[in-house]
């Protein structure tokens, strides 16, 4: 009798533990989903802010056309080409807002800067969530018992999201772009200037 109770107790504990692990994993996937939604909104907002700036008339014709084209390419890009198109938009923004400081202090350029910062924030949070989830799914227990169910393995969103030069350049973030610890994918990892010394 005692043995049966003990066995049942152990089985119940194992059950609780597994369901706790599954809940955690589910929460991680959920975190990835919300972070991805935030990133999509942030990218859309940036493209919209760039189109506003291009239409504002504050910039020369050439710069306006360049920005409008880059923003439109972003909107048309399909999934496999999105990261490249978004990176290209970042580069175009740096060219435009980085050099013509006298012309780019208006409201529209400020909104583009804020939107670009939003993209950086959303992308770091997204990739952080993806990293945590991928790490959790590497666990032997999770793989053996298929605790992740049918959820797809989430992917990092890799793009150049370096800010267009700020109006007051910030002294700190040298090499502040993503430098992830996990070695899953390493496209945009810039070494920090201070390095691991």
């Amino acid at each position: 009798m005692g043995t049966v109770v003990a066995v049942l107790l152990v089985l119940a504990l194992i059950g609780f533990y597994l369901s706790w692990r599954a809940t955690r994993l589910d929460r991680l996937h959920h975190r990835v989903e919300t972070a991805r939604a935030a990133l999509d909104v942030a990218l859309l907002r940036r493209a919209a802010a760039v189109l506003d700036l291009a239409a504002s008339g504050h910039l020369g014709t050439e710069a306006s056309v360049g920005l409008r084209e880059a923003a439109n390419r972003v909107r048309r890009a399909d999934a496999p080409h999105r990261e490249l198109a978004e990176s290209a938009l970042s580069a175009t923004l740096r060219e435009t807002l980085g050099t013509r400081t006298a012309l780019t202090t208006g409201r529209e350029s400020q909104e583009v800067r804020v939107a670009a910062r939003g993209v950086h924030l959303a992308r770091v949070f997204h990739n952080d969530a993806v990293g945590d989830t991928r790490r959790a799914r590497r666990s032997r227990l999770v793989r053996l018992l298929r605790l992740a169910g049918t959820a797809a393995l989430p992917d990092f969103f890799e793009m150049d999201d370096q800010a267009p030069e700020a109006a007051h350049p910030r002294p700190t973030p040298r090499g502040s772009t993503v430098e992830r610890a996990s070695g899953d994918k390493h496209l945009s990892g810039q070494r920090s200037r201070n390095g691991p010394d």
Partner: protein
Amino acid sequence: MKMRVGVVCPYSWDVPGGVQQHVGDLAEALIAMGHHVSVLAPVGDPEHPTPSYLVSAGRPVPVPYNGSVARIRFGPRASAHVRRWLAEGDFDVLHVHEPAAPSLSLLACWSTDGPIVATFHTSNPRSRAMSATSTALRSALEKINARIAVSEAARRTLVEHVGGDAVLIPNGVSVRRFTRARPLPGWPGEGGSIGFLGRLDEPRKGLGVLIEAFTHLAPHRPGLRLLLAGPGRPDLSGVPDDLRERVVSLGRLDDDDKVRAYHSSDVFCAPNLGGESFGIVLTEAMAAGAAIVASDIPAFDAVLAGGAAGELFRVADPHHLAERAAVLLDDPDRRAELSRAARATVRAYDWDTVAADIAHVYETVLLGARHRPVPQG
């Protein structure tokens, strides 16, 4: 968009410290922007005056942590306190500080299902409490939606010990509060002076390095004095008797006198040995327009823009410090130049700028919560 923000400070509110100061300034800046803010923190001394946004989580216990003594609160009763505060606050977003230490912040992470933002302050490669190998700790940290590091060094500590990544948002400084003040009576004085602010008995603040540098400089500069301000008793055993009276220790100062202290020396020195993630003292001195000489630890190097806004000397090298300080003491033009550069550089760290960026993080996190494809129960 106005938000309801719950902020958790793990360290005792009535003890001065960088994290407490950060949380208080952040709360005030967010309230000024129109947000609703409630701060939960341990309070050791019930008589200590607290701001209206603060909710006490009870008395803390002292725990040695990261080379200092942290006064924190943990355990089942603290946990019940946290849950009650969360339920009453009905927050849009929970912002915990330093959640890797066993603390109120960690309890709050466990107790909530809503969006969590976490700020990491510590930069200490040997900080074992940071290591998130334990399952319990990891289960709390993996719930965090957005991580913020206050410096590149703090971010690297996070990446190495916890894993994952963080956005960089530096500490803020209330620039206005420090801009102008009368020097303390009798300072800086005819023969020049070097200032230091911070705990006088904590080795990693590096006062020992400054005192040794002073003993090299003082014999050749008859009027030179050292101004020390902060709690604790400094170790002056290395100072020859004839120089003792030129080392002036003012003890702990109230807020107004602290501001005046930054305006009371010709050269301000931050000799910290490390473990410093950002250096509030340094940015306050910059806001006061001090001519600064600081150790070249990564956090200071970054804040001083690689030496453009203040001289850097090799960390823990009193000879190098003496050399740099001597150049500044002899060159008023260079001091004025550094003062201007410091005031310009520090603007990026003004709390108005910093709090707006932090609110942007909250919005980003909420953006996902509102636009997520399938809401889950």
